[in-house]
């Protein structure tokens, strides 16, 4: 089981890096956000400095990469559904969940690379974060990414159509993004949005990320976020593995 999962992880990683331009573009995006969006936020932050803005925006951008980077990885599965390679793997002796788990694991590896890059840029720009907080931020990001990747693979195997998939993703992305306070913290929002926000899982991840970057290790948002995302990640990953049985459909 583990051997097959590692096999597929390695295969997917080699595939991703066989043309290193695309992963590089993927990795560039969050860095560009930091460089170009944080200065915009400066005027809205209490302290009014770039470091203050970054402390607010770095955790948000990390959660953003985690969700939106992984949400699109299911598109690859649709292509493989169509060219028959998924069917071929399903008839092979491969442990079936490994076919999906390998992709999810690949997404995690790419995510960690991106996270490290973002952190390096943020630290270079003056943000400071403690070691414990750093590890927790990375773990939280991984759980968030796992949830998004599982969701994406499951959605791909259920929708089975690039068009339908991109429309579905678009429909959910904007409200999830705004209601999480990714760009503008929810504390600036009107009351009805404040009421709705806790229903959005990403909101908890962003809140917890901000608490960690502020060094508030005892903040209640941290256990809430971990609880929410561990459960969600397990659920979506199981759903994606189940959806594999529809390959032959």
């Amino acid at each position: 089981m583990i051997r097959h999962t590692l096999l597929f992880t390695g295969y997917e990683l080699r595939k991703s890096f066989s043309n290193p331009v695309w992963p590089l573009f993927g990795i560039m995006q969050p860095v560009l956000y930091l460089l170009m969006f944080a200065p915009l936020l400066k005027t809205m932050t209490p302290g009014g400095t770039t470091v203050e803005a970054l402390r607010m925006f770095t955790p948000a951008s990390m959660m953003m990469i985690a969700v939106f980077g992984s949400l699109f990885s299911g598109f690859g599965l649709i292509a493989e559904l169509r060219n028959g390679s998924l069917e071929r793997y399903a008839v092979s002796p491969a442990w079936r969940p490994a076919i999906v788990l390998g992709r999810v694991a690949k997404d995690m590896v790419v995510l960690v690379l991106q996270a490290v890059l973002v952190l390096v840029v943020a630290i270079a720009m003056g943000v400071r974060i403690g070691a414990v907080e750093l590890v927790l931020v990375l773990l939280l990001m991984a759980a968030t990414g796992l949830f998004a990747s599982g969701l994406s693979q499951g959605l791909a195997l259920t929708v089975r159509d690039e068009n339908g998939m991109s429309q579905t993703l678009n429909l959910f992305m904007l409200p999830i993004m705004l209601l999480a306070g990714l760009f503008v913290p929810i504390s600036f929002a009107p009351d009805w949005m404040k009421l709705l926000a806790p229903a959005n899982p990403l909101y908890h991840a962003v809140e917890a990320g901000r608490a960690l970057f502020d060094g508030r290790l005892g903040d209640a948002s941290i256990p809430i976020a971990f609880g929410v995302f561990v459960v969600l990640a397990v659920l979506t990953t199981m759903w994606s593995m189940r959806s594999l049985s529809k390959i032959a459909g």
Binding site: L7, S18, N19, S85, V91, P93, A94
Partner: protein, 317 residues
């Protein structure tokens, strides 16, 4: 026997806005494939060929029936079946962005082949793919892709290979080339189950075959036995009054068939019957616009068993 199947059935239910529809794709198929033979499943599109292959390859579960594939019970030991199977689907399963070598190597690793690198190099060599081995799948031509697909299916040296419509969409040269390679599999001792809707392909490649239509087996045997069963030769006439012409030649033929203005006359010995037949038509004053004498083909078998030609049946589906 490398495959023994009894009473395979599969019904699909599709739900749409127009309501629920059920399609009986396979309605009770028995099948026996001997070790080392190339066995064909011939039939028009929608006859249930792919569904049959998908059931036998563990991809979908049959609604009824039992089967033993490569020494393992299909329902109880699907893992055993998968270990001993090479499966090349209609789509082929060649990935766009990855090289042939990487894909074959991956298949070898999944099958835990002892030396995946060597097995990959060997199968690449065998299918003349060594020079193309490191190009991404999307840059390959249709024929090259097919060869890669088969190489992927054979890298673990399975005793049994499934080929679902292997030459669909290929040009004549590539088809002939692929036929030759499939024949070589027989020499290597690999058993092959192949589906096709091409008569010439079934005729040229298969040791034995079965003809399926609407999910049922309508005939089974070696290509020559099946053709002999219908008759040796077929005379195709384009005549003004086919019904009357049919009546006229009836005593000379084993069977006659009218298809618009075409009259097909099945006879045992075409060369000798033809002059007699022409004289009979002339005596009755029946006008004739064209005539052809052919050895009977599997299409004639299909026509005799189903009342349709394979070409017409394909257009229905």
């Amino acid at each position: 026997m490398i495959i023994e199947a009894q009473g395979l059935r599969k019904t699909f239910t599709t739900r749409s806005r127009k309501g629920t529809q059920t399609v009986e794709a396979v309605r009770g198929v028995d099948l026996e494939v001997k070790k080392g033979e190339i066995f064909g499943v011939l039939g028009p599109n929608g006859a249930g060929k792919t569904t049959t292959i998908r059931m036998l390859s563990t991809l979908i579960a049959p609604d009824a029936g039992t089967a033993t594939v490569a020494g393992h019970d299909l329902l109880k030991e699907p893992a055993g079946v998968r270990r001993n199977l090479g499966y090349v689907s209609q789509a082929g399963g060649v990935e766009d962005t990855t090289s042939a070598r990487a894909q074959i190597m991956m298949a070898a690793r999944i099958h835990a082949v002892p030396d995946p690198g060597r097995a990959t190099a060997e199968v690449l060599e065998r299918f003349d793919l060594t020079e193309l081995a490191d190009r991404p799948g999307r840059t390959l031509s249709g024929g090259q892709k097919r060869r890669v697909a088969i190489a992927i299916g054979l890298v673990h040296n399975p005793p049994l290979l499934f080929l679902d419509e292997p030459t669909t969409g290929l040009d004549p040269q590539n088809r002939a080339n692929l036929w030759e390679r499939i024949r070589q599999l027989r020499e290597a001792g690999t058993s092959v189950l192949l589906s096709t809707h091409y008569l010439d392909e079934a005729d040229a490649l298969c040791d034995r075959l079965m003809i399926v239509d609407h999910g049922l087996v309508v005939a089974e045997g070696t290509p020559s036995d099946l053709k002999r069963e219908v008759s040796g030769d077929v005379i195709t006439l384009r005549v003004d009054e086919p019904e009357r012409a049919a009546e006229t030649v009836e005593p000379l033929a084993r069977e006659t068939r009218v298809d618009d203005d075409l009259l097909r006359v099945y006879v045992d010995d075409g060369e000798h019957t033809l002059p007699v037949l022409l004289r009979a038509l002339e005596e009755r004053g029946l006008g004739l616009s064209s005539i052809a004498l052919d050895r009977s083909t599997l299409d004639d078998v299909f026509l005799a068993k189903t009342g349709r030609t394979l070409r017409d049946a394909g257009a229905d589906a």
